[in-house]
Assembly symmetry: C2
Homo-oligomer: 538 residues x 2
C-alpha cells in the first residue's frame, strides 16, 4: 500500500522513544527483554464495548520497520552532538526480527484493561514501536466502533454510506475513516481512492451545484435516450414535461412552482445514468419542486425502459420529508400503475449522527439509506480513543505502574486473556490470567475477581472458552494470513452478536465484566504493596 | 513530498464529482466556464476568527492533478457499463491548465462568508477539484486556528509543544496536526517524521516506562560521566547519592521515601543526555520522590560541569505541583548557591486544553512549557471546520443557492474581497464587492452593508485597504513562490495582531464584521427575488 510505505515508518514516532532508546543503549540495556501491553481504559462514546481494528496496519509497520540512511542523517542533526556514533550504527541495523506480537483478532469486540496487543522482545525495539502502534490502533478502533454503533441504531435493513472525506482530518484521516467505517458495518463510501485502495463499494450521485448549473430547459443540450429494450429513441424532455403535468395534478403541486432548471438538471443526469438515476431533490423545495421533477423524469425513464433508483434529501425535516416522499411515490405508483415506484430508494444525508437516527426511528421515517459524514469520520462525540502502551515485565520481572487513581494502575506481568461464554452463546466475562496458569476449562468453575476490589468475586462455569491471543508476528514475519476487509467486517458483526443486548444499547448500557484470576489478583496486590511507599499521616 | 504524491490525487474525492463530470460531459457542458467560492459559514471553537491554512497543499494537488491509467481502469470497473468510452479519454487528458485560483494569503485571519479560494475555469474541472480542496483546507485551517488559540491563552512567554501523534486521526492526521500546529504558533512537536518532512523543531525526553524499567540502583550499568570542562571522570551515582541526602534535609523529604529505581533511571538518562537533562518526575510521587531525585541528579551534573534543563510533570494538580517545584528549585538553588536552579524549565503535559490553561493562569502556575496532545490534534472542542464549495457563476451568469436558512444563501457572482483598516492599524471590516466595481480607496468613505439585513449599514473610511486575493494558480503553474513554514507561521501572528483584542478573546468575543458593497447587496437581492418562487398562504 503506497501510503504505508510512505509515512508509516520508524520516524513516525515521538522523539522521546529515540532519546529513551539511546539512554537504554548507553546504559547497557541492549539485551534487556521486555513485555508491553497495549490497552485502553474506557470504552468510547459512553458505550460499553469497543471494536479492535488496525492490526493489519501494525503488521505492515513491523515488516517495514527500518531506519533509512536519510532517517539516520536527520537524527544525527536532531539529537545532541555528543551522542556516540555507534548508536546510529546500532539503529541502522534494527529490525523487528526478535519481537513477538500476540493480539486479539482484528474486528473483535474488546474491553477496557484487556490488552489488545502484547509486545515481547528487546526492550529498546519494543519501546521504539510504542507511538506508531498506538497511532495505528487508536483511530482505527475508534472509527470501527463508531461505525458499528451507527449500524446498530440504523438496524440491518438500512444502508449506511460514509460521505465524510471533505470533513475528515486530512487526506489520510479520510482514507482511514472510509476503511474502518466499512469494517465497522457501513456498506460503502463516497471516497473513490478508498474504493480503489481497499476494494470498498463506492457510491454517489450529484450535488446541488449540478442542479444550479442549469437555469432553464434551454440548458439541456441532449434530450434523446435509447429505449432499454427496443433501442428506439425516446425524447426524455418531451416525455418528462408531459409527465410533470400529469403528476402535478395527482400530488397537488403546480408545475409553475417547480424549477425548470432543476428539471433540466435531472433530465441531463438521467440521460447520463439511465440505469442509476438517483436524484438530489432539495435544491429548491422538496415538496413543491424536487419530488414533482423527480417523478416526471422517473416516469419518462420508465417509458423508455429504465427504472429510476430513487432520491436523496440533504436538508430539512428528514422524518417529514421522507414520509412525504414515500407517500408521493405510493400515490404516483398506484395512479399510473407503476408498482415498483412505491419502493424507490430514499437517501438522507444532512449532518446525521447516532442521536439523529434514534430520533428518526422514533418518529417513523421512511429512509432506506443514510449518507453520514462529519460526525462519523471525526468521531465528533469523542474524537480520540485513549489506548496506552505499558511496560509490564522486564527481564522476567513484573512491573507495575502505581497511581493515586486506581483506574491507572497497570496489571503487571506476562498474561493471557480468555473470553468465557455461557450456554446461550453470549460472552460472560473476559478473564486475565498469569501466563503460567492453566487455561480455564469448559464446564469447570473458575473464580473471577475484580482486579482491584477485594470483595467483588464470582464463580463462572464456561460453556465455551476462547483464548483471545494469537501470535501474529514472530521471527520477523507475519504469522497470520492477511484477511480481506470483508472478513474483518464479518468478524465485527459476529463478535457483536455474542454480546448481550443490554451491553450494546445506546442508553445506560450495562458494563461487560473484565476479571482477573485469583492467582493474578494476589500477584498484583503483593507487587503493589512491595512498590507503594508507606506514607506518613501528618 | 512523498505523502502528497501518494494519496493527494484526483481519486481522493467523492464519487459524485466524477458522476457529475460525466453528466456534464454527456450533456455538452465541456466548454462551460464556472466560478466556485470556497468558504465557511461559522468560525470554529465558538470563536470569532479562523486561520486560513492548507493553500500550499492545494497548489501541489493542482500541479499533480492527473488521472493515471490505473485510475481510469478502476473508474471503468466502478461506473456503470454504459458510460461512453470517449469520456475516459477525456478524463485521461484533463489537467488544471485552464483553471485560475485566487486565494487569501495562507496564514491570514479569515472570516465567515469571505471566500478563501476562488476557483475559475472549465465547469467540469473546477467541479472535480471540490472535495480534495475542501479536505486540504478544512483540517489545516481548523488545526492552525486551534493552535493559534492555545498560543493566545498561553501567552508569548510559554513554550507550546505538540505531543499528539498517538491520539491523532491516523498517521497523516498526526503529520497534518504537527505541521499546522506549528503554523498556528506552536514551538515544536514530538513527531520526528513531521520534524524531518517540514523542518519543525522536535522535542522530547522520556516516558514513565523508562523510569519503571529500572528497579534498584543495581540496574545502573554505567556511572561515569566526563566533566564538561576538565574532562575528568565524575561518578554520577556517588555524587547523586550524596546530593540526595543533602537535598532531602533542605526540602524535608526522607530519602527512604524516594524511589531508587527512579534515581537509577534519572542517572542513566543524565549520562546519556548530560546537556539536555529534562526528567519526568511523576512516575511515583512528585513531592516525595521525583523532585528529590531530580535535584540530586541535577546537582551531581552541575558538579560535573553540566546544567540540567528541567522537569516534566504528567499528572496531578499542575498548578500546585509547578509551584511546589519552583519553590523547591529556588530553595535548593539558594541553599547550595546554584542560582540558575531557580530558572529550571517546568514542562506540564497531562490532558491539557484551552480551558485548563486559562484555569492554570488564574491559579498562578509556574509552568514554562506545555506539551499538548489529544485536545489539540483532534480539535476535540470542534473536530471539523465546515468549509463548502459553491457554484457562484456559470458562463458569466451569476448563480445563487437559496435556502430557508438565510445563513445558507450563497453570495452570487465573481467577487473581490478587501480588508479595510483603521488609523490604529486594526482591521475594521472585510468587504465583498462585485469584481466590476472599483476597489475602495484610502480616505474615502465606503458604504458597507450587511449581506442580508437591509437596515444594517455603515460608512467606513479606511486608512489602509488590503486586496485579499492574489492569483496563486494560472496557466498550469503556481504563481506564488512557496513560502517556508516559518514565514506562514509569522504571517499568522502578524495577521492576528491586526485584530482587536475583543474579537480574539476566549469568552464572548465580539464578531468581526463582514459586509458587501451597496452594488453587491442590490445584485444579491435582485437575483434572490428572480429565483425565489412566490409561495401561497394556505
Amino acid at each position: 500500500m503506497a501510503r504505508q510505505n510512505g509515512i508509516v515508518q520508524p520516524l513516525l514516532t515521538d522523539l522521546y522513544q529515540i532519546t529513551m532508546a539511546y539512554a537504554y543503549w548507553k546504559s547497557g540495556k541492549v539485551n534487556d527483554v521486555a513485555v508491553f501491553d497495549l490497552f485502553f481504559r474506557t470504552n468510547p462514546f459512553q458505550g460499553e464495548f469497543t471494536i479492535f481494528a488496525g492490526l493489519e496496519e501494525c503488521m505492515k509497520f513491523l515488516e517495514n520497520f527500518h531506519y533509512s540512511n536519510s532517517d539516520i542523517k536527520y537524527l544525527k542533526q536532531t539529537l545532541p552532538e555528543n551522542i556516540e556514533p555507534e548508536f546510529y550504527l546500532y539503529l541502522k541495523e534494527l529490525t523487528c526480527k526478535d519481537i513477538i506480537v500476540s493480539a486479539i483478532e482484528e474486528g473483535s469486540v474488546v474491553f477496557p484493561r484487556v490488552p489488545l496487543l502484547r509486545v515481547e522482545g528487546p526492550l529498546i525495539v519494543a519501546q521504539l514501536l510504542e507511538t506508531t502502534l498506538l497511532t495505528l490502533v487508536n483511530f482505527a478502533s475508534l472509527m470501527a466502533t463508531n461505525a458499528a454503533r451507527y449500524r446498530m441504531v440504523a438496524g440491518k435493513n438500512v444502508s449506511l454510506l460514509e460521505f465524510g472525506l471533505r470533513r475528515a482530518q486530512g487526506p489520510d484521516g479520510g482514507l482511514s475513516a472510509s476503511k474502518y467505517a466499512y469494517i465497522g458495518g457501513f456498506d460503502g463510501t463516497s471516497n473513490v481512492l478508498a474504493g480503489k485502495m481497499f476494494n470498498i463499494p463506492v457510491k454517489g450521485t450529484h450535488a446541488h451545484s449540478f442542479v444550479t448549473s442549469f437555469s432553464t430547459l434551454d440548458d439541456i443540450h441532449r434530450v434523446t435516450l435509447t429505449h432499454a429494450q427496443t433501442r428506439e429513441p425516446c425524447n426524455l424532455l418531451e416525455s418528462a414535461m408531459e409527465w410533470r403535468s400529469r403528476v402535478s395534478t395527482v400530488i397537488d403541486v403546480s408545475t409553475e412552482e417547480s424549477s425548470d432548471g432543476e428539471l433540466a438538471a435531472l433530465i441531463s443526469y438521467a440521460i447520463a445514468f439511465p440505469t442509476g438515476f438517483l436524484a438530489l431533490v432539495d435544491t429548491y423545495d422538496v415538496k413543491r419542486s424536487g419530488l414533482l421533477n423527480f417523478c416526471a423524469v422517473a416516469l419518462a425513464l420508465n417509458d423508455c425502459g429504465y427504472r429510476a433508483v430513487g432520491i436523496r434529501i440533504d436538508s430539512g425535516d428528514l422524518a417529514y420529508l421522507s414520509v412525504l416522499a414515500r407517500e408521493t411515490f405510493e400515490k404516483v405508483g398506484e395512479t399510473f400503475n407503476v408498482p415498483w415506484f412505491a419502493k424507490l430508494t430514499i437517501v438522507a444525508s444532512n449532518d446525521i449522527n447516532e442521536e439523529t437516527i434514534l430520533s428518526l426511528n422514533e418518529q417513523g421515517h421512511k429512509i432506506d439509506c443514510f449518507g453520514i459524514g462529519t460526525h462519523l469520520v471525526t468521531c465528533q462525540r469523542q474524537p480520540a480513543l485513549g489506548c496506552v502502551y505499558k511496560l509490564v515485565e522486564i527481564n522476567g520481572q513484573p512491573r507495575i505502574k502505581l497511581s493515586q487513581d486506581v483506574g491507572k494502575v497497570t496489571i503487571p506481568g506476562h498474561k493471557e486473556a480468555y473470553r468465557l461464554f455461557g450456554a446461550d452463546g453470549h460472552a460472560l466475562i473476559d478473564l486475565l490470567q498469569r501466563s503460567s496458569e492453566p487455561a480455564p476449562v469448559v464446564g469447570q468453575k473458575v473464580l473471577c475477581r475484580h482486579p482491584f476490589q477485594e470483595s467483588k468475586r464470582a464463580y463462572v462455569i464456561p460453556s465455551y472458552v476462547e483464548h483471545l491471543y494469537k501470535i501474529c508476528w514472530k521471527d520477523g514475519r507475519v504469522c497470520t494470513a492477511p484477511k480481506p476487509l470483508s472478513k474483518v467486517r464479518e468478524r465485527v458483526q459476529s463478535s457483536l452478536r455474542t454480546l448481550r443486548q443490554d451491553i450494546k444499547r445506546n442508553l445506560n448500557p450495562t458494563p461487560y465484566k473484565v476479571a482477573v484470576s485469583d492467582d493474578l489478583y494476589n500477584f498484583i496486590h503483593d507487587l503493589w504493596l512491595q512498590n507503594a511507599p508507606i506514607g506518613e499521616l501528618s
